[in-house]
């Protein structure tokens, strides 16, 4: 067992996968000599050279579109989008092309690639360096969406993503890069896509989240334990395909569900989880399905006073669970 940071988990896994499979290339803005603006690809250029670690022009549609072509012709690209906020110029290539290549060709062509992008707020990045964009993509059949919340999962899920034969969007919460550390075993383990995980067992309320919000939910659960409230916490890990069974099993046990996401509330990813619970576990529900989310303004504002106002926090999660428990 080694202890490493979240970003080191990603960096080391990229290096190991590139050693394992010569078809893997990394491409994106500043991923080469600079090693990425967060240093997630640091060292790869030195080890694998300019052919396999490609500093691209500042053109996201090209980064994804050329990756699609490269994937079709035998490579396994791992493009980086510098910030999830800047994935929008590539929206057409991801949603209209990568996601649909297999279905539209009746399985004649596939598109194995893993698009990595740092996302999330709380880092003083303002409207355009703080976004959560998972809801846009989790809605799209043909894509797989992964958001790890620990170094262990980051390694296991990144391996599974890169080895998957379909396009995966792999979002990394940038606030966790250096603030979250954790144990990782040696060896080539994988965490399969499509499996959620109960990260804390409890009996009264189920809290469901992903990414940084799992960390916050666990902090909230500690606060709640002091109040005598027993909270179960589920880390979704793969947003698509979703492991609904693990969620339903838990909610059938606790009878109460609180969905947490950092993105804008209205139409956010967690709405689907609430809808599934309301459809499939209605008889077991003992209270309304709550959501703790970011507010419905267009992005996290910059000034620290405003940024604090935006972000969901352990306290706000705990407050919601308290009310739900008392319901």
């Amino acid at each position: 067992m080694t202890v490493m940071t979240y970003i080191e988990a990603i960096r080391s896994t990229l290096a190991e996968e590139m050693r394992r499979d010569p078809a893997i290339i990394v491409l994106g803005e500043d991923v080469g000599k600079k090693g990425g603006v967060f240093l997630a690809t640091d060292g790869l250029y030195d080890e694998f050279g300019a052919d396999r670690v490609i500093d691209t022009p500042l053109t996201e549609s090209m980064i994804v579109g050329a990756s699609i072509g490269a994937a079709v012709n035998g490579l396994r690209p791992v493009p980086e989008i510098q910030f999830a906020d800047f994935i929008m110029p590539a929206f057409n290539q991801i949603v209209s092309e990568a996601a649909r290549m297999r279905y539209r060709s009746n399985n004649a062509f596939g598109c194995p690639m893993t698009i990595r992008a740092p996302y999330g707020g709380g880092v003083h990045g303002a409207l355009y360096h703080s976004q959560s964009v998972e809801a846009f993509f989790a809605h799209v059949p043909g894509l797989k969406i992964v958001i790890p919340s620990t170094p262990y999962d980051a390694r296991g899920l990144l391996r599974s993503s890169i080895r998957d034969d379909d396009p995966v969007l792999f979002f990394e919460h940038k606030k966790m890069y250096r603030s979250v550390r954790g144990e990782v075993p040696a060896g080539d383990y994988v965490v399969p896509l499509g499996e959620a995980k109960v990260v804390r067992e409890g009996s009264q309320v189920t809290v469901i989240g992903y990414g940084l919000m799992v960390q916050y939910a666990l902090e909230a659960a500690e606060l709640l334990e002091a109040d005598g409230i027993s909270t179960e916490v589920i880390d979704i890990r793969t947003l698509r395909p979703l492991d609904g069974q693990t969620i339903l099993d838990s909610v059938r046990k606790t009878g109460k569900a609180c969905v947490v996401y950092e993105d804008n509330r209205f139409g956010g990813y967690g709405a689907e989880i609430a809808a599934i619970i309301a459809e499939e576990a209605f008889d077991d529900l003992d209270g309304p399905i709550m959501r703790v989310t970011g507010p419905d303004v267009p992005g996290v504002p910059y000034a620290h006073t405003l940024e604090e106002w935006f972000m969901p926090s352990p306290d706000r999660i705990a407050e919601a669970v308290r009310r739900l428990a008392a319901y």
Binding site: T59, S61, M62, A66, G69, L242, L248
Partner: protein
């Protein structure tokens, strides 16, 4: 008729008489398939036609220099002549019109015009224009990194070349000297929008130098001229000297598609001038003048083509429709998981199997 012996037509291009006849046959068969589509459309048998009439000369000429079984083609919806030149069969083209289950392009999932055949390195095409230009660029990147020796050719209309993806693709190919050939088929219209409202320059080829690559104009009625320009670009790419932008000046002899009435926005003179630039009679005359083709041979070709088109039509029409039970396959490579985004799982009760209303919990 020609009794003296000047250098044989095409000899300077390395083309034999068989090549010339084959190129001619490719133009003729494509035109015949296209005309059949319109007949089928008017007969109510296929709901939608998008036509390449007027583009065939440029397409056959430019694609004839490719290496089948090695190179890649990334087509667009008017590419039937390119595709047939590169090895797609008339049956395969017709299957897409009828959207039958054995259609290799999409198993009947896509509209006609969205071709693709994996075993012939023809990439599946979508509708949003110009996206494929980036795919071709990525295929060429992989070819270069993997040292496969493959050349990739891709096609789009002049209207589509104004999309951002075109700019980003050519720039990247220019930087890395990728083995790719970009062909803009300029028929003067993007549906109804004429060239002067589509583009700030008259010749899209002007844009080649903006990406560090040659921009070459090919005259779409001159099949052998198109071959020469195409072959040069393909060879240049294969030698590792980088990409070329070819603009083929062609004519759109029909409406944009079977949904379009071009007389609403084109003058009669404009349409007549377009018809004048039909590559088929010109090529036929060129071959006859050079003594490569005579009326008898032309008749044999016509008869053969007629049979091919009949066969392709009848055979395709007789194939079965896709089975709805297969409609949810191939969203992913792995079998649909018994999970939320599988319609049989979550939505089973409204997808027709009448499962229980509530979950196991009750």
């Amino acid at each position: 008729m020609a009794t003296s012996t000047p250098p044989a037509l095409g000899a300077d291009l390395g083309l034999t008489r068989d090549d010339l006849i084959e190129m001619y046959r490719l133009v003729v068969v494509t035109r015949a398939i296209d005309e059949r589509m319109w007949v089928l459309n008017r007969a109510g048998k296929i709901p939608f036609v998008i036509s390449g009439q007027g583009h065939e000369g440029a397409q056959v000429g430019i694609a004839y220099g490719l290496q089948k079984g090695l190179d890649w083609m990334v087509p667009y919806y008017r590419s039937v002549a390119s595709l047939i030149t590169f090895g797609m069969t008339p049956r395969e083209i017709m299957l897409a019109q009828f959207a039958r289950s054995v259609d290799p392009s999409s198993g009947g999932r896509q509209m006609p015009g969205h071709y693709g055949v994996a075993d012939r390195n023809i990439l599946s095409v979508s509708s949003p224009v110009a996206t494929q230009i980036l795919h071709a660029t990525g295929i060429a990147l992989a070819a270069k990194l993997r040292k496969t020796g493959q050349v990739t050719i891709t096609y789009l209309g002049e209207g589509s070349s104004n999309q951002g993806d075109f700019h980003e693709a050519l720039n990247f190919a220019g930087i890395h000297h990728l083995p790719v050939v970009y062909v803009v088929e300029n028929n003067g219209y993007a549906i109804s929008v004429p060239m002067n409202l589509q583009s700030a320059v008259e010749d899209i080829a002007t844009r080649g130098p903006a990406y560090g690559m040659p921009g070459v104009i090919a005259d779409g009625v001159d099949v052998l001229g198109c071959y020469r320009i195409g072959k040069e670009a393909i060879d240049r790419a294969r030698r590792g000297e980088g990409p070329t932008l070819i603009e083929a000046k062609v004519t759109r002899m029909t409406g944009h598609s079977s949904d379009d009435q071009q007389s609403k926005y084109r003058s009669a003179e404009d349409m007549a001038a377009g018809k004048e630039r039909d590559p088929l009679p010109r090529f036929r005359q060129e071959l006859m003048d050079a003594g490569v083709l005579d009326a008898a041979e032309d008749g044999r070709i016509s008869a053969e083509v007629k049979k091919v088109v009949e066969d392709a039509t009848d055979w395709s029409e007789s194939q079965v429709d896709p089975d709805p039970a297969t409609a949810q396959r191939w969203v992913y490579a792995d079998a649909p998981p018994a999970r939320m985004d599988d319609p049989l799982w979550l939505g089973r009760r409204f997808m027709g199997d009448g499962g229980p209303l509530t979950g196991e919990g009750d």
